[in-house]
Each structure stands twice: as C-alpha cells, then as structure tokens.
C-alpha cells in the first residue's frame, strides 16, 4: 500500500468544489448579515462565522499542508475575538463612565447551585491535562488549556482561591523560550532534530495551555462566588 | 570616465536648484492668475537657504528623536529617490516605497511636535495616504503593459513602442493627479492646508524647516522627472526641463483656481479617479 500518493487523490478533487462553494456561501451570508446588522456585539459574533468560511476554503485543498494552515487560522480567529471583545468592553466602560461617574462597573457576584461544579471538574481537568500532555504541540495545549480553564472556573465558582496570574504567565514565558530554542536548533543543527522536536512540542504545549489558563483567570471576576 | 558620486552630487544639486525654481514659478503663476504681482522666481530658493542660517528652537512638547530625525529622513529618502531615478534608472517599486515613506514623514512630523495643528495634519496625512498610494499604484499597472519595473527598461520599451502616454493616457492622468496633489495650495493638499496653519511644517523651525523645504523641492523635481520619463519616452534633458516648466505652469493654474477640498471629499474623489483610470487601463489590456 503506498503511504503517500504522488498526486492529490481523485476524491479530494471531487470534494473540492462543494466545500469551496460552501465556504463562499457561508462567507457571503455572514458578510451580508454583518452589512445589515447595526449593533456591535452582533457583528463580533458574526465574524466568528466569517472565520468558519475561511477554514473551509483552506481545508478544501485537502493536503497535509492545508491541515497545518488551518491551525494558524483557528488561532488567529480566537486571538482576535479575545482582544476585540476586551476592547469592546473597555470602550463601553469608558463611555458609561464619561456619562455617569457614579456607576459601579464591577461584575455582579453569582451563586451557582450546581452539584456538577463541585464533583466533576477536578476529574475532567485531570484527564484533559493528561491527554493534552500526551498529545503535546498546539492541539495538546488547547486540550490541556481547556482542562486548566475548567479547573480554575470551578474553583472560582465554589469561592476557593486560585493561583495568581504572574505565576502562570511565568510558565508561559518559559514555554516560549523553550520553543524558540527548539526552532533555532532545527535550523542551525538539524542533526539534533529529536531534541529540538521535544523542546518545540513541549514548549508550545506549555505556552498554549497557560494561555488558555489565563483566559480562565481573566474571567475569574465574572463567575465569582458571592 | 564615469564617477558615480559626482553624478549623484550633480543630480542632487540640479534637483534642488531647479525644483526650487519650479516651486517659485508655481507660486508666481498662481499669483498672476489671481491678479497679484507675486514674489520673485527665486523666492522659494532664498527661503530654503535662509532657514539654514536661522536659529533653531525646540518646543517643549516634542517627541525628541523623531522631531529631528524625521526631517533628515525626509531629506535622505528624496536623495535616494534621485539616486534611484535620474542617476541609476532603477526600479519604480523603490520610488513607490520612497513615496510611502514621504507620507510617513508628513504624518510623523505633524504628530511628533505636539501641536494641535500638526496633529490634525497627521490625521489628514493618514486620510490622504489611503488614496495617494492607490494613485501611485499606477506605476504597478505599468508593469502589466511593459512587463518591467525598471525605469531604464521602460525607456527602452518606449523607444521601441512609442511613448506610453498614447498607450496608457489614463495611467498618465493618475500619475498627474499625484503631481497635482503634491503641488502647494492644490485642492488635494489637505495636509498642508492653510486652515491648519502650515500643517505638519508648523512647528519645525530653523534648519529643520530648511531640510523640509530642500526635500520638497527635490521631491517636486523627482516626481516631474518620473512623469516625463515614464510617459514621454526617451527625451533629452532640455526637453525634460521644458516639460517640467509646462507642467508646473499647468499645476499653478489648477492650484490658483480651485478651492481646497474637505479631507473626506479629497480622498474619495482621488479614489474615484484612481478607480476609473485603473479600470479603464486594465480592460483594454485584457481585451
């Protein structure tokens, strides 16, 4: 059985047109909806769909390269949504503050009366972390990050203290350094590829996972206990 | 015996002197159209020389390295423009880049001074850059016709096929719009409009202003040189000079009789011209 064909298989060529047209259609729909929409938060939500259209167009090529291009696309979408939603919030805060200095803008505390928040998260988070560490790389980071996020969340909603933000960003910086060193070794001394592979994969995993963890920490106010 | 350094030096001096005279002529033409006597021809030159001997002062509010460096950068890029254009007949893309840096200089010399007029000019520089770059992209469309970006190669192309102004008159119009935009007091020169004093030059005194004026005259020379060389084919230096004088007189007329546009309107009308001309050029190529 051949492991890698010399050309793109016939099936992918058949699948190309439907998928790319789907991408164009959903891109068109969501962009038209944006053009009609008036409120800012709705446009932010709809840009998520524009990202899906992009992913479909990239994925339709159906090679390994296309797959490795989807990952940056997803990351860019996530990153931009995060940054822009934060800007939207701060803009509205400043607007309200300039109108009425007297208004409190701190988030409201909530009491969640859900049993699942006390029992499930620890286990799920542990499993996710283990799975993420096994996967490593970007995917592993995302999975492990989901675990960390859930853990922080559940602790927060139960009113327990969580780790400080500085510690987590320190780990993130360490991951970044590992990862860059891994890359340098790849290009300068390819004979040590195994070492650099582990450095890069581990570093990226740490980095992404801690980034996701930071999201959890950023949101600790919203879902805090009374 | 060919000496590159001497060539550069001669060309820079030539550009500075002739550019200043042309800008003086521009002012004179405007004055005559508006029934004023107007200053002497060499007034602009005398101005720019004068500023080098005046005392320089620094406002308290400036952003330090940029306030000074930006004028030097302005001077340096247009000297580079001379080297790439008249001296080496190099790539048009570099001149495109130089033009972009010129827009940056307009932007930053406005904002680095801390003056509100400079600030407004800075914002307007961003407005105008968004359309002027598209106009300048006419040089990119030339590539579709001539398949080269090299000025020397474009000249030889015109030797074979005749001047490009017959082949692509709309592109020439686009490029001419850039020249009009850069002319003082033109309807599109929103960055130096008199409603914001002198725009980005307001807070630059002494030798810094001298640098700015020097570079502006070089810029005027380079732009006219480019226009004549790209669209009128291999013509001698004498005819280039005569062409420059004619174009300056035309722009003088335009500047004298038109009011300055509101920034949005300026940008959008430039964009409309760019769009129409680009489409009008591309469609014949495709067919």
């Amino acid at each position: 059985m051949p492991v890698v064909p010399p050309y793109v298989p016939f099936e992918y060529i058949n699948m190309y047109l439907p998928v790319i047209y789907t991408g164009l259609i959903i891109g068109f729909f969501s962009l038209m909806a944006i053009a009609m929409e008036k409120r800012d938060i709705h446009i932010l939500i709809l840009t998520d769909l524009v990202g899906f259209a992009m992913i479909l167009i990239v994925a339709s090529v159906g090679t390994d390269l296309a797959e490795s291009f989807i990952l940056p696309g997803l990351v860019v979408e996530l990153a931009e949504i995060l940054a822009i939603s934060e800007i939207l919030i701060s803009r509205e805060m400043r607007k309200i503050q300039s109108k009425d200095m007297n208004k409190s803008l701190s988030p409201m505390d909530m009491t969640y009366d859900m049993e699942i928040l006390t029992t499930a998260p620890n286990f799920i988070a542990l499993v996710l972390l283990a799975f993420g560490v096994f996967l490593t790389g970007f995917t592993g980071g995302a999975v492990a990050g989901g675990g960390i996020l859930l853990y922080i969340f559940s602790r927060k909603t139960r009113g327990l203290p969580v780790v400080e933000i500085e510690g987590i960003s320190g780990i993130s910086g360490l991951g970044w350094c590992m990862w860059i060193i891994g890359f340098c070794i790849f290009f300068l001394m390819p004979q040590y590829w195994l070492l650099s592979l582990f450095l890069a994969a581990g570093g990226l995993m740490l980095k992404v996972a801690t980034k996701m963890g930071i999201i959890g920490i950023l949101m600790r106010e919203e879902y805090g206990k009374k | 015996m060919y000496n590159l350094m001497a060539d550069i030096l001669i060309n820079v001096c030539l550009a500075f002197l002739f550019g200043s005279l042309l800008l003086g002529l521009h002012r004179k033409v405007m004055a005559r159209v508006q029934l004023r006597p107007g200053p002497p021809l060499i007034q602009y030159l005398l101005h720019s020389l004068k500023f080098f001997f005046k005392e320089s002062s620094w406002p308290k509010t400036i952003s330090k390295p940029f306030y000074i460096a930006i004028t030097v950068i302005l001077c340096a890029i247009w000297v580079t423009g001379i080297i790439v254009g008249p001296v080496l007949k190099g790539s048009l893309m570099i001149i495109f880049g130089i033009y972009a840096v010129h827009k940056i200089v307009e932007h930053n010399s406005g904002s680095s001074s801390g003056s509100p007029y400079g600030k407004l000019s800075c914002v307007r520089a961003v407005f105008s850059a968004s359309s002027e770059l598209l106009l300048f992209a006419s040089v990119a469309l030339l590539y579709l016709i001539t398949h080269t970006m090299d000025i020397g190669a474009i000249i030889t192309y015109q030797q074979v096929h005749g001047p490009l102004i017959y082949k692509a008159p709309l592109l020439a119009l686009m490029f001419f719009m850039i020249i009009v935009t850069k002319a003082p007091y033109s309807p599109f020169s929103i960055t130096t409009g008199k409603d914001i004093i002198s725009g980005f030059e307001t807070e630059h005194f002494g030798f810094l202003r001298g640098y700015i004026m020097l570079s502006e005259s070089i810029m005027w020379y380079v732009l006219l040189w480019l226009f004549l060389t790209i669209f009128f084919g291999p013509i001698s230096l004498l005819w280039i000079f005569i062409g420059m004088i004619i174009i300056t007189i035309i722009t003088g007329f335009i500047s004298a009789i038109t009011p300055m546009l509101n920034p949005n309107h300026s940008v959008m009308s430039q964009l409309s011209i760019a769009l129409i001309c680009a489409i009008g050029t591309i469609i014949p190529i495709m067919i």
Partner: protein, 92 residues
C-alpha cells in the same frame, strides 16, 4: 424492503445532527438550546466514532461537558442579570 437496514449508524447520526440543529435554531430559549446542542453533539460523536477515530471521540466526550457547563453558567448569569434589570435597572 428492509426497513431495519435503514437504522444504521450513518443515518442515525445524521438524523440526530440535523434534527438537533434544526431544533436548536428554531427554539428561542437559551437553556433549551443547550439541551438541543447536546443532541447535536451526540450525533457528531457518532459520526466521529463511525470514522473510527477513537481518540477524537474521547476528546469530544470530555470537552462536551465542559462546554455544557460553560454555557449553563453563562446563561444562568445572563438570565439573572436580565431579571434584575427588569426589576429596577442594573445594579440597584
């Protein structure tokens, strides 16, 4: 006619997904949407299983509850906020 042959994994999962998604779009209450979303998710899990990617199914099975928890928490909070705002303006 073999009607039972119709109930294979493909049709069931596609039916689950399409019914779930149609329901999810037509239903207006956020909490109902979360329930219907888990139906869609179940259909998708079946799809992944029929593609024989056990580890992807595993990851989905873990991430599913997380998304449900997150949705629930957010929706509960938003409901609370809306209730308060209807009572007498925000942060009263």
């Amino acid at each position: 006619m073999d009607f039972l042959g119709f109930f294979n994994i493909t049709t069931i999962s596609i039916a689950l997904m399409i019914i779930g998604s149609l329901g999810m779009i037509l239903v207006k209450k956020p909490l109902d949407k979360v329930i219907l979303f888990s139906i869609v998710d179940a259909g998708f899990l079946l799809a992944v299983v029929s593609f024989k990617y056990l580890d992807v199914a595993f990851a989905m099975a873990i991430l599913g509850p997380i998304s449900t928890i997150i949705f629930l928490m957010s929706i509960l909070k938003i409901n609370e906020i809306r209730k308060k705002q209807n009572e007498g303006g925000p942060n009263v």
